[in-house]
Amino acid sequence: MALIVVADDEFLLATMLADILEDEGHEVVTASHGLVALERIRARRPALLITDFMMPVMTGLELAQAIRADQDLADLPIILVSGAQGAIGREHGDLFTDVLDKPYRNESLLAAVERILGV
C-alpha cells in the first residue's frame, strides 16, 4: 500500500517492525542508521519514515533536521519511536509528526501509521 522507511540500529526491533508493517500490506525498507535512511529516502521517496533516536553516524533528531531542511522532503511525515528520548522529540514538535515511547504496543504504532497515511 505504502512505502515506509524504518531507521533503527537495533536489528531485531527494525526487523520486527518491518514484519508488522508488511503484514499490513506496506512495503518496508530498513536502515541501520540515519545516514543510510537518508540515502534510501532520497533514492526512493517513501510515504512515511519511522525512526529511532539514538543511532550511530546520524541520530533520529539529525535525520529529521536533514529532511526538514531538504525542500524535496520537507513535508515527509516522521514518527519518532524512542524510550528515553521521547521528551527530546516532543520538544521538537515541528520535526516529528508523532512521537511514540518504547516499548510501544503494536496497535498504537499501527494506529499512528494509519492516521498519518490516511488509510
Binding site: D9, E10, F11, L12, L13, A14, S32, H33, F53, M54, M55, P56, V57, T59, S82, G83, A84, Q85, I88, K102, P103
Partner: protein, 475 residues
Amino acid sequence: MKSFSRIASGIEGLDRILEGGFIRGASYIVQGRPGAGKTILSNQFAFNHAKAGGRVLFVTLLAESHERLFQALSTMDFFDAERLGKDISYVSVFQTLREEGLDAVVKLLRKETKRQEATLLIFDGLLNARDRADTDFDVKTFVAEVQGQAAFVDCTVLFLTSASLEETSPEHTMVDGVIELSDTLAGVRSLRQMQVRKSRGSRALGGLHKFEISNSGLTVYPRIETLYAHLGQQEEVEPTRISCGIGRLDTMMGGGLPRGSITLIAGPSGSGKTTLGLHFLATAENEPALHFGFFETEQRLRLKATSQGIALPPPGDPGFAVLWHPVAENLLDRLAHELLDHVAAHGIKRLFIDGLGGFERAAVHRDHLTEFFATLTAQLRNLGVTTVATWEIRDMVGGDISAPSAHLSALLDNMILLRQFEENHDLQRSLSIQKMRESAFDTHAYRLGFSPSGFMIGERLGHPLEQPSPSESRG
C-alpha cells in the same frame, strides 16, 4: 617517574584496586560469564563518568534491545535517563558487522567517537566480533585499531566479553588491562569476586577482591591485606596506659592497657567477656568509643549495661556508637572496611570487638584469616586505637583451654582468660592474665563475680595462705 592521567570509575573499591582509576586513553577488557556484573560495572562507570563531565559512547554488538537494558538499569541509583542521547549514547553496530564486516565496524567506531566527542568508549560483545573474525589476526587487528584510534583522541576503551579469554589470547596481548569478574559458589553461598589479570605499566592490587551488587551498583571491597600491605611492622606499643574500666584489673596488668594495644578476652559463653568490654567502653573519657559486635543490638547491649550498673554514654552521644552485624552472610572484607572506615571517620580511640569469631564466620577462605587479622590489627594500631576483642572458647565448662590459634595469639599484645568451673556443684568463674606484651603482670587467677556495680574481681584462687578459697576453708 611519569604518572598516568586517570579517570575514576566512581566505583570506589575498583578505583582503589586500580590505584586511582582507569588510565586515560588506555584500553581494557572486562570479562566474565553472563550475570557476572559486566553490564552493571560498565554502565555504572559510564553514568559516573558522564556525571563528572565526560562523554560516553556505548556500542553493542548484540541483538538485545537497548530498551530492555534501560528497563533493567532503571532500578539502579546511578541510572539517569536524562543523560541518554545527550552525554551517553547507546548504539548498535550489529547490522554493520553483519553486512559489512569488522573493518566497517572499526571505521564506524572511529567516526562515532569523534562525532560524539567520546572520552569513554564501551564496546559490548567482543565475543561476537571474534566469531566474525576469520583468524586471530583479524581480532588482534580489530582490537588494535579500535584502541589505537581511541588512544589518539584520548578516549578510554572498555571491551566487554563473556568469553574467558586466556592470557595468551590475541585480545589480552593487545590491551593495557584485563579485569575478570566471577560469580562462584562457596558452600551454599554465592560469591562475587574480581581480579585484575593484567595492568600494563601500572600497579594494581593483586588477587581476588570481593564485591556485591545492589541498587547502588557494584560495591567492591579490596582485600585489606593488599590495601595496607605497606604498613609492615609496627613500632613498639606506646608506654602510656589507659584504664580498662576495672581498677583491680588495671593493677594486675601493671597500670592498665597500653595505649594502641590489642587485647583478647578469651572465655566460654556467659563468662563475662561482653561485660568486661562494656566496662572498657564506658571508661572512655573524651575518647570516641565503638562497639563492633555480632550478637547484641544496641538496645540489648544497653539493657545489659544497665543491669550491670555500667553507665554507657547516652544514645546519640557523638563519642559512642554501636555497629551491629548479625552473623548472617557477612563478607570478611566488607566488615573490615566498615570497621576501619568508621574508626577513621570518627577518630575512634577505644574499640571493643565482640567477637573475632564473627570475622571467622564471614570468611570464605579461612586460610587467609591470619593475614587478615594481622592486617586488621596492624591498621588499628596504626590508627592509634586501643582494641579489646573477645574470643569464645567453645567448651562450656572446664576442659582444655587453648588459644584461638597459634598464629592469632602472636598478633595480640595481651590476653585475658575467663574460665568457668564447677565447685561444690556451683558454677564459678575466674579471671587470669595470660600475656602482656613487654610488661610484667600479675600471673595469678582470681575469682570473678558480678555485682550490681558490674564486674567484681574477688580473692586469689589456689593460694590458701593468702586468701583461702571456700572449698579449702570448709575442709
